[in-house]
Structures are given as structure tokens and as C-alpha cells.
Amino acid sequence: MTKDDRKHYIPDKVEYGEKHPDKFRGDVEEDGFHFCGYDYDSEEEQFKVYLHYDQLYYWKYAELSKMGKGLLDGEIWGTKCPECGDKFFPPRVNCWNLDCNLEKTEWIKLKPEGYVHTYTIAGWSGRSSLKRLPFVLAYVVVDGCKTAVANELRGIDPWNAEFEMPVKVVWADKEDRRGTITDFHFEPADDWEPSGMNPEKERMKELCEPVYEWVKSMK
């Protein structure tokens, strides 16, 4: 297909025969910016270098600090615009309404309850979440807010979740809290009962089965 000598040849298949037997390969540790190993394919002359993956970061909550401290204490703090009254969780530190002209919002303690606006059953996720699969991620409107927040919905078979279902906030053990969104999750409200099985739920259950099996097989 190459018509022009200036074009770089791109091999279809590369087989790395020579591998640096470095202990960091595939097992990531925080070690600063450095190289962990290499692979080399002598036939195609292809060289690959491994770099470290993890980096240490922090978030400064700054104006959102009240929310972070609230999560540690088992309280949901959102914000409210004193002009138009719109309520937000996750908190917005200025109002979104252009007519309010960046009015600074006020902190309000929200009731730890809400309803599911929409949701999905996750059967695949990022590296750090694979072992929790399958889980329900629900967008929940907390205590009359104008926005919904995404978080895990537990305490339920995934296929039993429903639109509009009432939910409550359930806190992690105090010693496990970090001042982050994962300090709590949602569970069905106490008086809520799932409706019976139907073909759609059967389909969801069927899709979940291999995910349960796959997670069990993970090291």
C-alpha cells in the first residue's frame, strides 16, 4: 500500500522476544518518574519502554471544604442561592442562573434522602473498580436539589433498581471515611419494595451472571 518512500512502515504484528525481567512489570508502585523495564522485538525492531503509572495527587477542597468535613461527620452539605433559591448537590459555590450574576451560594444541610433520576448496571469499569462489579450507578436528586449526583446504589439486586425509587444515604464506618463522595452510598428507602421479576429484569440478570463469574475469577 505504501507508494512513497517517505512513509513510515507500520508493522501489523509485533512479538516482543526480549523482555527486561524487571520486578515492577505489571505491579505498580509509587516510585517517582522513572523507567521500569522494556520489551524488544528484534525482527520488527520495535522497542517498548515501561513507565510507572501511579502519581500522588491531592485535591484542595478550599471553598468546598464544608462539604468534605460534612462527609467525615456523616452530614450532606449542599448550597443554595439566596436570590433564586436553587439548591445544589454537588455544591456550586456560585449560582448558575445568569440573572443572579454569580451570587455566592449559602451552605445548607440536606436531608440524607432522595430519589433515583436514572441509573445503569455497570458490568465493566476502571481498573480500581473492577472487583466491585456489577454495581448500580444511580443519579440521585438529593433533598429537592436542582441537580442529581452519581453514586453507587447498594443493598439491592442490580436488576431490581427502578426510576424514581426513593433512596436513603448510608454512611461508611466512621474510621473508613475520607471526606470524599465514597464516604456514603445510596440504598433503597426503608419502606420500598421491588416489584416482581419481569422480562426486562430477567434480561438484566442474565447479563449480570457472567460478570459475577468473571469477578470471582479475578485475583
Binding site: I10, K146, A150, M204
Partner: protein
């Protein structure tokens, strides 16, 4: 402003995972291929470069565009990089459009790439999720397929659609990709699939299965954006005009768009909820306005489209956002296969993100180049056959899409 802006050439590398090529060689290959089609074009013609690259995480390199720019020998030439999530390519094209439209430059290069095969797919999913609100959504285990699935499930319910309706797009785009030698699906699996294959593929996030989702890729793409004068003189018969361009935005968190005051003002109470791509509707309307297309005639006037099908559901949702159908007839629109080759508005004959692949920074440019090939009758040369060639197409639409619909651009391309 009467000055017209054109796409006067361009090319794409193969998209693959893995692909063994550096960003600089990918862009060099694309420029050489562009010169095969447009022999008059030389590097000395370039006046401005816009680089399209999403995530420096994949290359562990800040400002990687500096490496590519000096590799091309373009010292002294102004350049900048655009980063706008999945809409990086579309946004870079928009920047080049503005640069030529303004009269400041006549010849602008747009070069994009992504090297996503530097990490595993679950690591890659996490890297991309760093473009969601990490403080809330990514930390709770969310990645983009999950956010899209939550939006798609509600859209599906509210419009009476089924998983099979979404699966049609997954089947269509992968099948068309088999006709495209550069498509990742053709380079790997290379099989035409059925709706059942989509339905039986593994759960990613309900209602999305593996074959409802795009392909993580490595690849590069290049587009030459010029004045009409340059195009006529140097690319006669091989250029298209950009008659409409729109770029719009929505919230980073999908959960924030239940009653966003800006949308409420424009489109009424409750819009866009979490089911509509408001930024697609708005940027589409802006592009239609510029090109003189009435919204309710859009489906009739557009002959071919390359749509950002990160997920089969999002392609389907975009049909509605672009005014091709409405809540009442979307089911018929999908089930009558109007977006298939045999329909009146073929979508993603190049394979789209689900078939060609999705190396984010290159993707929007790839879509524009596929559409450009259609409107300049170059498809038979570029694809394996004429099966995915939309004959006599006069008007094309290119769509690029980021976040959970957080930034979306649309372009109307026309045969001059």
C-alpha cells in the same frame, strides 16, 4: 462574511490497538498521503498549525505537539494545541475554520493523534474518566460508558426504544468498517456482525454491551483547511466547502442538566434532562443556520454523515438532537434503517468510532476526512470497494462529541 473555508485534503493512519508508530511519524505519513492526492501541497504552504490531542496522560508528555511541530520542520510557524475531550478533533477543525474565515490565514493544517494503546483498556477507561468530575463521578467508580448508559437507559424508556434499536448502529458501523482497510475492526476481527451478536456481547453497562461501544485506539489524522482561492488553484476537484460550523457546550456532570437555566431559557422547562444532547442540538442548529438548512428539512438535505458514535446509543440520540427525527417518529427512523447505506441518510460509512476506532485526538478529523472523501468521490480509492461509497452526495455532516455531551461540534460540508 462571504469568504469561504474549504477542506482541501487530508488523510488518516490506520487506527489500531496496538499500533506501532510514533505521533510524529503518524502525522508525517498523513501529510505524505495528502500530497499523493493534492500534489501541489507542500509544507511551505502551511501558515498555521492547530494540533488536536486529548490526553497527555497517554504519552507521559506535556505539550507533545511541540515534538510533532518541529519534527515536521515548521520552525517559526504559529501553532497551538486544542484539547476538548472527544470533541478535540472537531474543536481543532473549528479553530482552523475560524483562522481561515477571519482572513488571517489561507492554509492551516490540523493534525491530531492519540496513543491510547500505551495503557490497558481498564487503565485507559480511568484516564478518560479523569475528564469527568473526578471529585464526585470518577471516584464513585464511574467511567464514560457508565455515564452514557445511565443517560441512554432513560432515553430508551422515554422514547419506547429497545436494546435492539441501539444495536442496529453497532451492527451497521462495524459491518461498514470491514470495507475500510484503515479501520481497527477490519484490521482485527474483520467480520460483519448481526444485531444478535451485539445483544450477546458482554455487558458493559446496561443497556450497553461490548459491541455498542467504540474501540480504544492509537492513530493519527490530518486535515488541510484552506481558503477557497487556494483550494481552486491547488486542489481543484478535490476540495469541499465548510458551509456551516457550530460548537456548543453542556454541563460536565450529566446530573446537572435537569433544569439548567441556560437551557430552560432556550428550549423550555426540563430540557435537556439527562437524555438529550443539548450541545448537539444547539451546535447543529448553528451549523444549519450558517449553511441555510431549515431544521425540519435537515434529514432530506444531508446526503451522508459521519457521527460521533462513541456508543450506539449516542449515535441514536444524536439523530434526534440533529432534528432528523423527533420523539414520535424516532422508532420508525431507526427501524426503517434510514441511516444505512440503503437508506436516504447513510451514517458512518467509514465505520465510525465503533468500527474505524477512537484515538480521541484523531477521531473528529478522521470523521471530517471520511466525509471529505465521500463528497470528492475518493471513497472507491480509499476503501476496499464502492460498497460504502455514497454516490452523488452533495451535502455532508460531520459531528464531534465530548464528555457526556459536554462539548459538541457540527459541520456542514458541501461539494463546491
Amino acid at each position: 462574511m462571504t469568504r469561504k473555508v474549504c477542506i482541501s485534503g487530508g488523510a488518516t493512519t490506520p487506527f489500531d490497538y496496538p499500533l506501532h508508530a510514533t505521533p510524529e511519524s503518524m502525522i508525517a505519513n498523513c501529510i505524505v498521503e495528502t500530497q499523493e492526492d493534492i500534489p501541489n501541497f507542500t509544507l511551505r504552504d502551511l501558515e498555521f498549525m492547530v494540533y488536536s490531542h486529548f490526553s497527555v496522560h497517554f504519552g507521559k508528555q506535556l505539550c507533545p505537539e511541540w515534538i510533532v511541530h518541529d519534527h515536521l520542520g515548521l520552525v517559526g510557524l504559529p501553532h497551538f494545541r486544542v484539547e476538548n475531550g472527544g470533541n478535540t478533533g472537531g474543536s481543532a477543525l473549528y479553530a482552523a475554520f475560524l483562522a481561515v474565515k477571519s482572513g488571517l490565514f489561507d492554509v492551516v493544517g490540523v493534525a491530531g493523534w492519540e496513543t491510547m494503546d500505551n495503557v490497558t483498556q481498564s487503565q485507559g477507561s480511568e484516564f478518560i474518566a479523569l475528564a469527568s468530575d473526578t471529585r464526585y463521578e470518577a471516584l464513585a467508580g464511574g467511567i464514560y460508558p457508565i455515564y452514557y448508559a445511565a443517560m441512554a437507559y432513560k432515553f430508551m424508556k422515554e422514547h419506547g426504544l429497545t436494546e435492539e434499536d441501539f444495536a442496529l448502529a453497532g451492527m451497521k458501523n462495524r459491518t461498514y468498517a470491514c470495507d475500510n482497510p484503515k479501520a481497527q475492526w477490519a484490521r482485527n476481527e474483520n467480520k460483519k456482525i448481526t444485531v444478535d451478536d451485539v445483544m450477546n456481547s458482554r455487558l458493559i453497562s446496561y443497556p450497553l454491551k461490548k459491541y455498542d461501544c467504540c474501540l480504544m485506539s492509537r492513530g493519527g489524522s490530518f486535515a488541510l483547511v484552506t481558503s477557497e482561492e487556494w483550494a481552486k488553484e491547488n486542489a481543484d476537484g478535490k476540495y469541499v466547502t465548510i458551509d456551516g460550523a457550530g460548537l456548543s457546550s453542556c454541563t460536565i456532570r450529566a446530573g446537572d442538566r435537569l433544569a439548567f437555566p441556560g437551557w430552560t431559557e432556550m428550549y423550555g422547562e426540563g430540557y435537556p434532562d439527562m437524555t438529550e444532547f443539548g450541545a448537539c442540538r444547539k451546535s447543529g442548529e448553528d451549523a444549519y443556520d450558517m449553511a441555510g438548512i431549515e431544521y425540519d428539512r435537515a434529514a432530506k438535505e444531508i446526503d451522508v454523515a459521519e457521527i460521533h458514535d462513541a456508543f450506539s446509543s449516542s449515535e441514536t440520540q444524536i439523530y434526534k438532537a440533529l432534528h432528523w427525527c423527533d420523539k414520535d417518529n424516532i422508532k420508525d427512523f431507526v427501524r426503517n434503517k434510514r441511516t444505512f447505506m440503503e437508506g436516504d441518510l447513510p451514517v458512518n460509512p467509514g465505520g465510525g468510532l465503533m468500527g474505524f476506532g477512537h484515538p480521541v485526538g484523531a477521531t473528529g478529523i478522521m470523521s471530517a476526512i471520511e466525509c471529505y472523501y465521500q463528497l470528492t468521490d475518493m471513497i472507491p480509492d480509499k476503501h476496499h470497494s464502492s460498497d460504502t461509497y455514497v454516490r452523488d452526495a452533495e451535502t455532508g455532516l460531520v459531528n464531534s462529541h465530548a464528555g457526556t455531551g459536554t462539548s459538541i461540534s457540527n459541520f456542514i460540508l458541501r461539494r463546491p
